[in-house]
């Protein structure tokens, strides 16, 4: 045992160096560690800064006759959106002008990408009638409100399975780039003159002659157009469209969208 102790313990000089070595080692480790932290912190803030300026801000604007009507653009943080909400057909008639049945009015509807990422868009259009109190009139055919679809042979495709007498849903088949506007979905609006044929006439003999009075049965009804434009990201688009819009869409290698 004594022999063992004599050979294994370090010399006094070595014992004196050991704490120094350990101190140096600890200092190196501490410095290295601190440097690593500093680097990590720097990297972290750098990434955060990069992410802030590149954050995808999706946005969409409904356009009528070349003018934006309603907009909803993400501002990039805190679920804050820039929105405007306008009215369709507001400028269809001049001051003092009355709606003329059978007359064809300009009604060019399109969509602009007002965000900063590419997107796919669709438009849902509703047409219906209401009475003076705003109650929907289901006995009047929405087809009497003739919104003329255009560019439906390729640029826009309708989800026919979702069509009702009131509603039509069209999907834009191309990626809509930032600041780009779709080709028009509609170009004109005509309220059928057939409404004026639904009349009641009375005849009254007077000294002046026979007075014929024609009363229109649909006097006072209101036609309404509603349009909703939806946008979804192009990244992982098929899943995004299914999740957001509840439909199955296929994205081609060229980015083209097709339903089903």
């Amino acid at each position: 045992m004594a022999k063992h102790l004599k050979t294994t313990p370090p010399s006094g000089k070595k014992r004196a160096r050991l704490p120094l070595v350990l101190f140096v080692l600890a200092a190196v480790l501490l410095l290295t560690s601190a440097l690593g932290s500093a680097q990590a912190a720097l990297t972290y803030f750098s990434e955060e800064y990069d992410a802030a300026i590149a954050l995808p801000d999706i946005g969409i604007t409904l356009v009528e006759n070349g003018t934006g009507v309603s907009t909803r653009d993400y501002t990039g943080s805190d679920d804050v959106w820039t929105t405007t909400h306008g009215e369709l057909l507001a400028n269809m008639l001049a001051e003092g002008e009355s709606l003329e049945l059978g007359h064809t009015y300009d009604e060019v509807l399109a969509v602009t990408n007002s965000g900063n990422i590419d997107e796919y868009v669709r438009v849902k259009v509703y047409r219906y009638w209401t009475d003076a109190d705003g109650q929907k009139l289901t006995n009047l055919d929405p087809a009497l409100i003739d919104l003329h679809w255009v560019n439906t042979d390729g640029a826009w495709v309708e989800d026919v399975s979702a069509r009702t007498s009131e509603r039509s849903i069209f999907y834009y088949t191309s990626v809509l780039g930032v600041d780009e506007t779709t080709v028009p979905l509609t170009d004109t609006l005509t309220v059928s003159e057939a409404l004026a044929r639904k009349v009641t006439r009375t005849f009254e003999k007077t000294a002046e002659g026979t007075v014929v009075t024609t009363t229109y049965d649909y006097d006072g009804v209101k036609f309404v157009i509603e349009a909703e434009a939806d946008a979804v990201q192009t990244h992982n688009a098929e899943d995004a469209i299914t999740s957001a819009w509840g439909v199955t869409a296929s994205i081609g290698s060229d980015g083209s969208l097709s339903l089903g």
């Binding site: 999706i58 946005g59 604007t61 409904l62 009528e64 009507v69 309603s70 907009t71 909803r72 993400y74 959106w81 909400h85 009215e87 369709l88 057909l89 269809m92 709606l99 003329e100 049945l101 059978g102 007359h103 064809t104 990422i117 997107e119 509703y126 309220v191 003159e193 057939a194 409404l195 004026a196 044929r197 639904k198 009349v199 006439r201 007077t206 002659g209 026979t210 007075v211 014929v212 009075t213 024609t214 229109y216 049965d217 649909y218 006097d219 006072g220 009804v221 209101k222 036609f223 309404v224 157009i225 509603e226 349009a227 909703e228 434009a229 939806d230 979804v232 990201q233 899943d239 995004a240």
Partner: protein, 181 residues
């Protein structure tokens, strides 16, 4: 008493557990971001109320026996503008000749007053001259010439000739628009 070895295993286990919790938290925080998509929507609506005012018309006929001529005008006493057309019927022993400013024939037996007739305004006069069809006609006998006119609202057409006269009225007999004068 726990051996140092045992205490080390416990520390390692604690460390691994803490790491697992951290990973789970990080992963959990990432899941919502991964399953959410960038979407937005916007909408607008608009419409107009139809103001289909009454159309009231009064025919005015005057028969000039000296010239065997009927003078016909139609007055719109309603609130809405309309188009007017007129035709007359007589026995085969009489021939009818039409004339009048603003009136024109369309080849269907009707004479159309081209301009829209605004509320409170009358058409120009349509003169219908009645002549014996032949020398054998007994002009001293009674005869009857009936004038029929129709009106339609101004809906999209710019002249009466372009108006939709042939479309059937769809509310039954009460909307039949012929009126014998």
């Amino acid at each position: 008493m726990r051996l140092p070895f045992e205490r080390g295993r416990a520390q390692v286990g604690l460390t691994v557990g803490a790491a697992a919790v951290a990973v789970a938290l990080v992963a959990g925080a990432a899941v919502p971001a991964a399953s959410a998509y960038f979407t937005t929507y916007v909408d607008a609506q608009g419409g107009y109320t139809l103001e289909l005012k009454e159309v009231t018309t009064i025919p005015d006929e005057d028969f000039d026996r000296e010239y065997w001529t009927k003078h016909v005008t139609i007055k719109n006493t309603g609130e809405a503008t309309c188009f007017v057309r007129v035709r007359a019927f007589a026995g085969s022993q009489y021939a009818l000749t039409y004339s009048g400013d603003g009136w024109s024939e369309a080849g269907d037996g009707w004479y159309y007053y081209a301009d829209p007739v605004a509320p409170g305004v009358s058409t120009g006069t349509l003169d219908i001259v009645i002549k014996a069809a032949s020398e054998e006609t007994d002009t001293s006998a009674d005869f009857n010439v009936s004038v029929v006119y129709e009106t339609v609202p101004v809906t999209g057409a710019s002249t009466a000739l372009e108006a939709d006269w042939d479309a059937p009225l769809d509310s039954g007999s009460d909307v039949y628009i012929n009126e014998e004068a």
